[in-house]
Subunit: 278 residues, 4 copies
Amino acid sequence: MKSQDRLHRIRHRLHEIIFEADTRAGKWFDLILILSILSSVLVVMLDSVATIKVSYGPLLYGIEWGFTLLFTLEYLLRLFCVTKPLRYAFSFLGLVDLLAVLPTYVSLVLPGSQYMLVIRILRVLRVFRVLKLASYVGEATILIRALLASRRKVVIFLLTIVTLVVIFGSLMYLIEGKKNGFTSIPRSIYWAIVTMTTVGYGDISPKTNLGQGLASVIMILGYAIIAVPTGIVTAELSHATRKKISTQACPACMAHGHDPDAVFCKFCSERLNPSSNK
Amino acid sequence: MKSQDRLHRIRHRLHEIIFEADTRAGKWFDLILILSILSSVLVVMLDSVATIKVSYGPLLYGIEWGFTLLFTLEYLLRLFCVTKPLRYAFSFLGLVDLLAVLPTYVSLVLPGSQYMLVIRILRVLRVFRVLKLASYVGEATILIRALLASRRKVVIFLLTIVTLVVIFGSLMYLIEGKKNGFTSIPRSIYWAIVTMTTVGYGDISPKTNLGQGLASVIMILGYAIIAVPTGIVTAELSHATRKKISTQACPACMAHGHDPDAVFCKFCSERLNPSSNK
Amino acid sequence: MKSQDRLHRIRHRLHEIIFEADTRAGKWFDLILILSILSSVLVVMLDSVATIKVSYGPLLYGIEWGFTLLFTLEYLLRLFCVTKPLRYAFSFLGLVDLLAVLPTYVSLVLPGSQYMLVIRILRVLRVFRVLKLASYVGEATILIRALLASRRKVVIFLLTIVTLVVIFGSLMYLIEGKKNGFTSIPRSIYWAIVTMTTVGYGDISPKTNLGQGLASVIMILGYAIIAVPTGIVTAELSHATRKKISTQACPACMAHGHDPDAVFCKFCSERLNPSSNK
Amino acid sequence: MKSQDRLHRIRHRLHEIIFEADTRAGKWFDLILILSILSSVLVVMLDSVATIKVSYGPLLYGIEWGFTLLFTLEYLLRLFCVTKPLRYAFSFLGLVDLLAVLPTYVSLVLPGSQYMLVIRILRVLRVFRVLKLASYVGEATILIRALLASRRKVVIFLLTIVTLVVIFGSLMYLIEGKKNGFTSIPRSIYWAIVTMTTVGYGDISPKTNLGQGLASVIMILGYAIIAVPTGIVTAELSHATRKKISTQACPACMAHGHDPDAVFCKFCSERLNPSSNK
């Protein structure tokens, strides 16, 4: 009984440190964790630079293993102190935590394979955990909600872009042809995306008069069409900002959604309590 | 009498399946149609890749004919089950349906001609039919209405862009000249469009000091001027979003700006007249 | 007396045709004028294409002289039928009309000189006269007013851009140096403008690690900073759109600027006349 | 006593001239100062152009020293006439004033060193002082306040961009590899920034099919994601503009939303309380 109670206390304390950020220990844990994540990402990056790998290869390999063991321990502790381990393990952040350690172990079984690196860089996703940190979450929620609210409009916009890009890409393939770098319709569509998004690498560019004319149309279209997603998100965001102000609930019929300047409930005519943050 | 009645029933049933999406069969038909359209577009694309055409040319040719016959049958069925066939045939979607099958037949009469391909890719327009699908049409209507409402402002904006581009292009032709790639005024205007829309291929770029100075002016202008279409569309879109909400006036205090779901005036508690367009 | 009266009538009739667009003749005159302007601009453009000049040089030269004589006649008629010729001659449109014919005559005195071409292309400015055409002027006025209202904010924005571009350009000159194409501070500033406005030609691009790092900062800055002019113009435009609705004047104190939903004058409490377009 | 009084008067007069712009002398001082700053920046720029340095090197060196001595004198006078010299010396503008003269003196001790130039160009920061000039400060304050208010959203946005760029850069390193210019993860991240911000130099560009496909996704993402900072700043700016306008409530019918210049309620004709912040 006593030892179980002690285990419970340890578990609770660990949860406070690892998952929460209200106590002093919790804040320090979060800070160290973020620094570790950033350092480990930096090590992966440096490891990819040829000149650095030649000189410091084994050192970087060691540090990488150090971080992997550290994050493995952290992952196990998280599983231990959580009340529903399975629910955590299959949550988005839980999966990211697991994927952040797996690649190093997998690279043991299949040593030196280039392919392994593909999974390894998923460790970079840890950076997202930094967002758990602060009151920034509230503002992030507003942004995400505004983007979700404009979801359908964005899908329509993307479908329009895809259609335009397919048609213009195919036309350019016919106009410019293989000799000017437009070797196939997929490659021409790639060019159309490069042009319409105003990126403009210049690795492929129209040479004929007709091609340059059509390219001009695509550019002006791409230049003007960016107004659409901007307009959608802006309208949604200023709506969200406006909506944020209203909070009161009617004391009689409990209805929500009153304007901040409302004096009477618009559903039952009951006088509203003067809100404190008015 | 009986056979005519039967024909009528078949026609009605077909219309339900092909044109509507409320029944189970109608939904399946729409889904299969969209997948077929996307597949056929993919086949046209793959057919343009040299390495793939060498190996799978005949196969792709076969699939292409298969899709063409399928879409031809679909087109004939649409004509059959519609009450006013001519009206459908000359509607926008009807013409697209026809143009989606014609090129393959035309390529029989004029075999192997490069020119034929120009019409063939119009088949890609079928992707637009995907938009018929869902409740997305409502949101699309809002977007299109906002764009139509800002039509005149957009025309003025485009005229300004064209004028600027013609003047700047001509100036650059005089400043840079033929030796720096600005071989003619039309080509210089093409460069001005590439620059002002911030695409910037780099296939033509100013070399002289004066030319680089003028190019800097064009770039900053193009960078700042994009605010204009964005502003137009955003103002129109937030107007459209706002319009959806408020109309009624209080019969007692005449106050406006009530929410569409308001029953009582929020300023004086008077009962509001039930609005007609609620 | 009679001949003077006749002259007056002719003058009035000409003014109606040339300056106004209400009569049938006036509309035809405007249409033909715009087509002539566009054609003459096209001729100047074609004249600059080397291959076309070789074959059709003399023809284009003749057409150019034809248009010049036509526009000269038009300019003289405008001077004749206007009541205050000097005021027209020194107005913006009057100066453009003059500059549209001068270069061809000047090219007679100084034949074949490349320099002359600089003035010649100012003829392109005639395109602006097209804007005189329609009810589009009203919408253009809204746009221009919104831009003028945000004048100061735009100046501050441009000053910030210039400062950033000078500092970043100088830093890149020191980091990259002459061997990587950053041959002088002005050229490095040109590169900074190309980068910050997201044009990105690629004729000059950073090669060192430090340079690519700083370039990344400039790019993200330029990418995010475009939000500022867009925000300015959008806020001003939606303000202008809102303002547009108010038109009534108080019958008692003549004050303007009432909201469209106002029932009483907000300055003197007089009841406002119900507006017709409410 | 008398001499101290005279010193005080001189000090006061100098403060009026140097720090304020209300008197005639103060305005002239500001104007000359700004012209001197711009000229000195121009001299530094010209000094970096190889062809100019060869011919006018000594002259530019002399002018540079002239400006340095002038600005040193100005800096000492500012220290002299301010009541709290230390507070000025450590303010942002005070530090900029000091850094604007230091590099030339330091270049004496360490002659001809390339490294010195790094600090020298900080003199360019003087351009910022131009902003002290006019009523533009008010508008600048609105802009800065709007940007500060959207600070957190901008940080979230930048974090998202950084994360995306790290992940996409790493993926491209694996897909394209060293042979196509993606020599390391940091360089691939640089490419991802160049692409996502729609700059698109073209110095590095994907060659494989998979790489071009992923690049297309990054481009469309970067093209659409720019809507987010724009939406944030616009929503904040129109909020700031709106706030300036309305506050009072009618004492009779409690209606809000009156214009700041309203004397009577526009809904019920009641006289409004004169607002305090009018």
